[in-house]
């Protein structure tokens, strides 16, 4: 069944979106001892990656829905939109603040791979995930 999605206008470009990642799998150790997030951290089966709206939920709540080995990374809603996605509200069993990024137009696997890489580099430019 066709479903129409809408960009959530109440989520501003400067609002932070939270995503659980597994550092042991998706943070690569560098020779200088730092760890960098890799693009695979944003990938999902559906090619529509899940996040939570930071102003509406705590990190603890989001982590409680995942695994002990996970941690949170943050991106701005505007970063996701700039790559050609809308932020779609989709309350889930974890929290009502759940959203997913939906491409405005069809994107190939390769394009999504590039977008996920770009998001990972945005995270890397702002913080160094622990691993």
């Amino acid at each position: 069944m066709h479903q129409t999605h809408h960009d959530a206008e109440d989520i501003g470009d400067d609002d932070l979106l939270l995503r659980r990642i597994t550092p042991s799998l998706h943070a690569a150790a560098q020779p200088d001892g730092t760890r960098i997030l890799i693009g695979f951290a944003f990938r999902e089966r559906t090619h529509e990656f899940s996040m939570y709206v930071a102003k509406e939920v705590t990190h603890e709540k989001i982590l409680s829905c995942g695994f002990e080995t996970q941690e949170i990374v943050e991106v701005r809603a505007g970063d996701v939109r700039q790559l050609g996605y809308m932020i779609v509200r989709d309350p889930d069993e974890c929290d009502n603040s759940h959203v997913f990024a939906k491409a405005l137009a069809h994107k190939t696997r390769g394009q999504i791979e590039k977008d996920c890489k770009a998001l990972a580099e945005i995270v890397n430019s702002r913080r160094q995930p622990r691993g």
Partner: protein, 147 residues
């Protein structure tokens, strides 16, 4: 009276010097199973990905597919990786497997899908990304090292 023992040429010991030189030209260079040092460790890490269960990422990821594991092993065995630093091995949520290298500002991700299809993404950190197929993977690896 002693007689010379006549042995059949099972091992091709009687091949001429010229034949041996010809063979050297026909066969590719022999690679040591120990080279590079990280390869065996990486094979083990790739195998360990099979232990991941459904929903390993807490977003509904699939277990890593056997086809992806065998294909990425074949891919690695066909590349000249002697000078490469150790890659990071990562599972993909659709059952694929990924490898990641970063040397300076050069970044390379190779991924193999569950059906064995492979492709790569090379990125200058802070710049553009270029994707390609496995026939160009060796060029991408050389690019990471600045060759």
């Amino acid at each position: 009276m002693a007689q010379a023992l006549h042995l059949p040429d099972f091992l091709g010991l009687k091949r001429s010097r010229q034949d041996r030189a010809s063979n050297r030209r026909q066969w590719s260079e022999v690679k040591s199973l120990q080279s590079p040092a990280w390869l065996r460790e990486i094979y083990d890490r790739i195998s360990d990905l099979k232990k991941l269960e459904h929903n390993w990422d807490s977003y509904g990821a699939l277990p890593v597919a056997d086809g992806a594991i065998s294909s990425i092993r074949v891919l690695l065995s066909n590349l000249d990786i002697d000078d490469m630093p150790t890659p990071h091995v990562a599972p993909l949520p659709d059952g694929g497997v990924g490898l990641h290298w970063r040397v300076g500002s050069r970044d390379l991700e190779i991924e193999v899908e569950p059906n064995g299809a492979a492709h790569y993404l090379q990125t200058i950190v802070g710049g553009e990304s270029i994707s390609g197929d496995p026939t160009e993977a060796q060029n991408a690896l050389d690019w990471v090292l600045g060759k």
